[in-house]
């Protein structure tokens, strides 16, 4: 059946919670409201208020409480309402979620999934369009996952829920109700730490994730019209990254364009660019290009389109790389 990403995520949650009662969902407005994007819609009816828990408005408390639950027998799934509101919990995430396994030499790992909508393109208020994934990619111990299709969303979320490591699961709000896709009814895993080749190509590798994937696809279509064959790589797991997939593709094509919604400086694109230079410099026929937002705060809706990375800019990045 063709369903949206929001529905696919909802299915993943419902199925895993039905399978294993250690899963407990908690967050602001995840209960009767079903989450502000309705990802948890209907779950409180299915699993009751003991397993779908509306919490007070306190992100550090929410993540901190989830840590205690994870250390002592449960598998919390914490929803942060928007990525822009995760920062009050940053200390809990950096100091504890990421590090407890190490600090306790494996005695108290805290398997948990922190889900949150992220990214721009939905004309939201300030702080609702953040794309600060790179903050989490630099924290050893965390796994950072971003789906770009309904199919991947379900499979990656199930894999994240089953992971023994804590996962930051970023859901591109722009794709929640984007293109529908046939998604198997039964549960399945899309493996973590494995990128997906969205489209094969020979001239240039275009690397991105989340809401940038459809943008990259459009750009690749246009590039094809100009005789450029672009290979598209969807990272899916941003950290730990599927380095081999990135390097194999770039070694093949000799060119790379990294695309992200986040501002340029110290975005994940920097890491990818550095990785490629370190490991495939001699294969490179052009510098690794970064097509990203500028280093400013994302503007309010009226200027959002000016700011947002679009197919034209990705195409320009591809062409510039081809012409180098």
């Amino acid at each position: 059946m063709k369903i949206t990403m929001a529905q696919a995520l909802n299915q993943a949650l419902a199925q895993e919670m039905a399978r294993d009662e250690r899963y407990v969902l908690l967050g602001e407005d995840v209960g009767p409201d079903g989450g502000v994007f309705r990802v948890t819609d209907g779950l409180i009816q299915k699993f009751g208020p003991e397993r779908v828990i509306d919490t007070p408005l306190a992100e550090s408390g929410l993540i901190g409480v989830s840590i205690g639950m994870a250390a002592f027998g449960l598998r919390p799934i914490a929803e942060i309402q928007f990525l822009g509101f995760i920062y009050p919990a940053f200390n809990q995430i950096l100091s504890h979620v990421a590090r407890l396994r190490n600090r306790t030499r494996g005695r108290y790992p805290v398997p948990m999934v922190i889900r949150t909508p992220y990214g721009a393109g939905v004309r939201a208020l300030e702080h609702h369009s953040e794309s600060t994934e790179a903050l989490f990619c630099q924290l050893p111990g965390l796994t950072v996952v971003v789906p770009s299709t309904p199919y991947d969303a379900k499979g990656l979320l199930i894999a994240s829920l089953r992971s023994e490591d804590p996962v930051i699961f970023l859901e591109p709000s722009r794709l929640y109700r984007g293109e529908k896709q046939d998604v198997p009814e039964e549960p399945y895993e899309v493996p973590l730490r494995a990128a997906r080749t969205v489209r094969e190509g020979t001239d240039v590798t275009v690397i991105g994730w989340g809401a940038m994937v459809p943008v990259m696809e459009k750009a690749a279509d246009e590039a094809a019209g100009r005789g450029v064959s672009a290979e598209i790589l969807d990272l899916r797991t941003l950290s730990p990254m599927d380095r081999e997939a990135v390097l194999a593709s770039v070694r093949k094509t000799g060119r790379a364009v990294v695309v992200h919604e986040a501002p340029k400086t110290c975005g994940l694109g920097a890491e990818i660019s550095a990785l490629i230079s370190e490991n495939a410099l001699l294969s490179l026929r052009a510098p690794v290009a970064r097509v990203t937002a500028p280093d400013i705060t994302i503007p309010l809706p009226k200027a959002e389109d000016d700011y947002y990375v679009n197919p034209a800019r990705v195409l320009a990045g591809i062409l510039k790389t081809m012409e180098f």
Binding site: P56, L57, D295, Y307
Partner: protein, 359 residues
């Protein structure tokens, strides 16, 4: 054995739900002030309804309605003096209007333009905060700065009931207690934080009693009674200015609308509950009172409404006539002096937009 708290002080009220003055509670406000308060309340309500309409028409972005909060917002802002400071949150239309913030600017902001949030010079109104409770320490800082600079201003900060669960509420109020700053914290307890009811937000019987944790007084006031809100804020401001330290005021009210235009409150609360609050409408109460004092009549009320409607239409027209942010605007305020790399990005973006426009 425990230290149980007594929290049984009655909620302060001046006008009862029928608009009758409680015995001995006659407000210390001149007729012109009372009329002015009513005018702002009508303006706020009219402007709010217009914003909702504009949003449905696609002319306004996601919007957080102030319907039902007029007494809280206006009552909180009314007693301020020019030297005071105000730290609002995202649901504070009435306060903005009371303080003289141009409605066109307020609309401009909610239409999705940063420029609307630039406070006019001479007004100590900080930019509304969207991260819940994060503005509370700012207000304490302003009051502490005033104290250190030997200024007389007090700093008023507003927030919702949900905000009281955040660490910043606690840290801010604790600093205020320790430094005995001239702060007045006003919680608009509108019973809901999106879909989360007050009872799920905290197990304390009242929000006012939380002040006890910080060593200063907490007060509960009827947040639909503008005169009571004014009286309690005024008293707190007087104490603050006299060096008596901060106060927490819990203004008990109700969010009559959805959380924002993106929300559907019917998913989580009953129509009966909303209905039950209708008779407590803050405008109605003040209207009855003004009439009973002979300070208004049907004709003057119509005049007030017409003036509000005109002002609102003018503000919409003005906001909509403003140009959108230029690329220069988007980049100009990141640093005082733009780094060269950023200037290059600006040039790059301009060129990209030109190329895209040409396609």
């Amino acid at each position: 054995m425990g230290l149980e708290l007594t929290t049984k002080a009655p909620m302060l009220q001046i006008l009862d739900e029928e608009g009758q003055v409680r015995p001995g509670a006659e407000p210390a406000l001149a007729p012109a002030e009372l009329r002015r308060i009513y005018e702002i309340m009508v303006l706020a309500r009219t402007a709010d309804a217009k914003a909702l309409k504009l949003q449905r028409q696609g002319r306004m972005g996601t919007y957080a309605s102030s319907l039902g909060h007029e007494a809280c917002q206006i009552g909180t802002a009314f007693p301020l003096r020019p030297e005071d400071y105000f730290f609002p949150y995202f649901r504070d239309l009435g306060a903005y209007l009371t303080l003289g913030y141009p409605l066109a600017d307020y609309y401009h902001y909610w239409m999705g333009n940063e420029a609307g949030l630039r406070t006019p010079d001479g007004l100590n109104l900080f930019a509304l905060a969207i991260p819940v409770a994060s503005q509370i320490p700012h207000a304490v800082g302003a009051a502490l700065a005033a104290k250190l600079r030997k200024k007389t201003g007090a700093a008023v900060c507003t927030f919702g009931d949900g905000a009281t669960s955040e660490g910043d509420f606690h840290e801010g109020l604790n600093f205020a207690g320790v430094f005995r700053t001239a702060n007045v914290f006003v919680c608009y307890n509108n019973q809901w934080a999106i879909s989360t009811p007050r009872s799920r937000q905290t197990a304390s019987e009242t929000i006012a009693q939380k002040a006890g944790a910080y060593g200063f007084p907490g007060v509960q006031v009827d947040g639909n009674d503008v005169l009571a809100v004014i009286a309690s804020v005024r008293e707190a401001l007087d104490r603050a200015r006299a060096g008596g330290g901060p106060t927490l005021i819990e203004a008990v009210t109700y969010r009559m609308g959805h959380h924002t235009t993106s929300d559907d409150a019917t998913r989580y609360r009953t129509e009966e509950e909303v209905k039950a609050w209708e008779p407590r409408d803050p405008l109605r109460r003040l209207r009855i009172y003004l009439r009973s004092r002979g300070l208004s009549d049907e004709a003057s009320e119509k005049g007030v409404l017409d003036a509000a409607t005109n002002a609102v239409e003018k503000a919409v027209a003005e906001a909509e006539s403003r140009p959108p942010a230029t690329v220069d605007d988007l980049f100009a305020y990141t640093y005082k002096n733009m780094p060269p790399a950023l200037a290059e990005q600006r040039t790059g973006l301009k060129e990209a937009l030109k190329a895209e426009a040409g396609r």
